[in-house]
């Protein structure tokens, strides 16, 4: 099993969904985690369940000042930062011609500026430890166009590009930066109920919706030394849908 023993991680948007699963798997594999979110009650409860290896910090990723507090907490409580998962995210569906500049701004603030501030905030601490791993959660909407995802798609393509520049500039410091592109995952963001398991989600080749732990396992791998020569890369995790045209489900 991939070990994260001795590592300290910051996971944003970790009150629920993928962020919560990532934090939980991190602790299971021996890491200590600072979990952050704007959802204070849920975030605190999620961290308490993980015991002494987790702390919750209320934190808005779009605020640079808030970020300083997060890094201070990680250093004071656990001695440093080795891993950052820029997972917090916002989605709102709108047709391009009905989208507002205010909403675009709001989504960019969280999905793009959040990752940008996060990288700037943790890099000095990572350098002090001799390196680190930064994982940016983008989306399939950062690999292709998806109708009604103009603002979200712009933010996720931007995160993909930011990842590449960061990988180029930070490689010499031993800091790896990669992007993860999940397909439909059963979280609050999906916005509808889908039955988990085989057959419940015919839209993708594996015929099931993604579960937060599916993404969590990939993020664990990218956080660990097992991926030590991977940087600047896009990891697609989507049940196969980006492979091309999905054939109709076979009749039983």
């Amino acid at each position: 099993m991939t070990t994260l023993s001795g590592k300290v991680a910051v996971v944003t948007g970790a009150a629920r969904g993928m962020g919560e699963a990532e934090a939980r798997l991190f602790v299971e594999r021996g890491a200590r985690v600072v979990m952050t979110d704007v959802l204070e009650e849920e975030g605190r409860a999620a961290a308490e369940k993980l015991g002494g290896a987790a702390r919750f910090v209320r934190h808005d990723v779009s605020s640079a000042e808030d970020w300083a507090r997060v890094v201070e907490t990680a250093v004071a409580e656990f001695g440093g930062v080795d891993v950052l998962v820029n997972n917090a995210g916002l989605l709102r569906h709108a047709l391009l011609m009905e989208e507002t500049a205010e909403n675009l701004d709001r989504i960019l603030k969280v999905n793009l500026f959040g990752a940008f501030h996060g990288i700037q905030a943790v890099v000095p601490a990572m350098k002090a430890r001799g390196g680190g791993s930064i994982i940016n959660i983008s989306s399939l909407a950062g690999l292709q166009g998806i109708p009604r995802h103009a603002a979200y798609g712009a933010s996720k393509w931007a995160v993909r590009g930011l990842t590449k520049t960061a990988a180029l500039e930070l490689g010499e410091d031993g800091i790896r930066v990669n992007s993860v592109h999940p397909g439909a995952v059963d979280t609050a963001m999906l916005g509808r109920t889908v039955e988990r398991g085989r057959g419940g989600f015919p839209a993708v080749p594996l015929r099931r919706v993604g579960e937060p732990e599916d993404i969590g396992e990939l993020v664990v791998f990218l956080a660990s030394d097992a991926s030590s020569w991977m940087t600047g890369t896009e990891f697609v995790i989507d049940g196969g849908s980006m492979s091309g045209i999905v054939p109709p489900m076979r009749a039983e």
Binding site: S139, G145, I146, R148, G183, S241, I245, V246
Partner: protein
């Protein structure tokens, strides 16, 4: 559909394989409309000769199996003898796959690779010496949307089309110093004899799987090919030009999967 206004190809001599009908014939019409000369090749002799005759004195037909190296030299010699040069090559000849993975035979797989991939490679080898020696040229390889994404039931076909896309890039780098440009065109669902047999129909609303809602017409691919053959694209090499009504951009508004 309205007459397309194509690029200027005055003085250019172009070989187009598999141009008896479909996309190849449409590209040949565009070359002639742009002032160029064209040698149409195909295994279909009668239709090929008819298509060339319709284009008048600027076109010739030469019977040709693209998978046979010996025949390629004859095509190049014929073109130089008739029109004095080879400025462009469109590797367009192609055949379709033989169904799902567990059904397609090894024989068919090898046949598709031989025509759709090896044929393109031999064709490039055949024209490169002339182009190098005469100041350059433009090679356009017809790949497919199946060379940009996976398409169920097209195993051998998509293998060949992805390979053509990759091989074209290597060729583009190697040949750039000799002013030979190499690009690939990736048609989506186009109404031609190849797709008519699987029920594709032209016209608005007849192909809702693609954002534009319709299958493309051969002339719409022909004009993209003509652009890449012309000097209007003189700084374009190693590129992939999708001509697919938006098919490979992402899901349509109707078919969107949330996430």
């Amino acid at each position: 559909m309205a007459e397309l206004q194509g690029p200027n190809l005055a003085g250019k001599v172009v070989i187009i394989t598999g141009a008896a009908g479909g996309l190849g014939a449409a590209a040949a019409r565009q070359v002639v409309a742009g002032g160029g000369k064209v040698v149409i090749t195909d295994v279909q002799e009668e239709l090929g000769a008819k298509t060339a005759a319709e284009l008048g004195d600027a076109a010739r037909f030469h019977k040709h199996d693209v998978s046979d190296p010996a025949q390629w030299q004859a095509v190049v010699d014929f073109t130089v003898a008739e029109f004095g040069a080879v400025d462009g090559l469109v590797n367009n000849a192609g055949v379709t796959a033989g169904g799902p993975f567990d059904v397609e035979s090894l024989e068919n797989f090898e046949r598709v690779i031989k025509i759709n991939l090896t044929g393109v490679w031999i064709g490039m080898q055949a024209v490169i010496p002339f182009m190098k020696a005469h100041g350059g040229g433009s090679i356009v390889n017809i790949s497919s949307a199946a060379g940009l994404m996976g398409l169920p039931y097209t195993g051998s076909y998509s293998a060949a089309k992805w390979a053509v896309r990759g091989m074209g890039k290597t060729a583009a780098i190697e040949l750039a110093p000799f002013k030979v440009r190499v690009n690939s065109v990736h048609p989506g669902m186009i109404y031609t004899p190849m797709t008519a047999v699987v029920g594709i129909q032209p016209g608005e609303g007849n192909y809702p799987k693609t954002p534009m809602g319709r299958a493309g017409e051969a002339e719409e691919v022909g004009s993209a090919v003509a652009y890449l053959l012309s000097d209007a694209s003189s700084y374009v090499t190693g590129a992939e030009l999708a001509v697919d009504g938006g098919w490979t951009v992402g899901p349509t508004v109707q078919n969107v999967v949330e996430g």
